[in-house]
Subunit: 190 residues, 2 copies
Amino acid sequence: MNIGPYEFAEFKALAVKFHGYAAPGLLIGGCMTAAAMTALPAGVLFEALVETYNCLPDAVQLLTPCSTGNKRLHVVHYGKTALSLFDKYSGRGIRARIDPGLLGPWPEIRAWIMKEKGKEEQNEAMLERQIDEAGTTIVALQPVCVDLSRLNRKSDGPLALCPHCGESFPAAHGSLCRGCAEGAPYSFPR
Amino acid sequence: MNIGPYEFAEFKALAVKFHGYAAPGLLIGGCMTAAAMTALPAGVLFEALVETYNCLPDAVQLLTPCSTGNKRLHVVHYGKTALSLFDKYSGRGIRARIDPGLLGPWPEIRAWIMKEKGKEEQNEAMLERQIDEAGTTIVALQPVCVDLSRLNRKSDGPLALCPHCGESFPAAHGSLCRGCAEGAPYSFPR
């Protein structure tokens, strides 16, 4: 089956280029994203909310105009194979997830999604073939309403200079930049 | 000047395709990413830590193998025009930021970075020309050491079924999935 506008092999090539590897999660994420897109009203300006950092964000970035750096892709760290595409202004949209109840004909996909097998036991060629054949049929879609006030979409506003590190930061963050206030996850070796 | 392996116009075209628009922050982020890459030891397997969601993550995704979905791109919400590329195993690397002290010859870049002008007063053509001419000369580089224990890199581990929503989630997250435990930023309309 196609993944959005791409033939399966073509999407795999894009995946390798962008993600480093045509990971099963990226192929499955492609099916989910494509399914959700077809369920959106035509022409709607949409954003994405993805519920895992694993692979799915890259499927959205390959198939939609939403990216991390244009802030139309939002990620919550829930470890769930689910994503929503929603109207930027109303929050109304579609949530896509893999429904285990639809995986009967696809035991390799089921084993992969449910983590039933170790990496060595997986048959990756068969897994890929099943994803190609299953396409969007394994995706359950449900209307969703996203709470826009809980997404990171605000402009940073005016800048200030941090009295501790001397670098500029959004004045709205407080008297110190967050790196100095919270302790950044990096240090400068002497 | 070139931005990494791309001519300036070529990088602009990539930016439009991926980000929707050749935003000044993406062009500047391209210069920062390219500068940091040249300072890394050859052949090192690296990840990226970006200190803003504005544009810079997409510069990293266009110029490096690091992406949100392969978890080699990490973002902290500090609102700072800074990014680090670092060795995946040691955390040692290079932090790149725009040094206002280097912006003397580039008043449009300075005005943009420091938010000295409203959007209407900006001369975007001149800003782009100055970014093209300045290239990596406006980027200050500094050795950095990233604390790998503070990054999201762990595998999710075994799954469990959430007793509330019935969906699978990483068992290590607790008795409920995080969406149910914390209250997800979305709801299902009846």
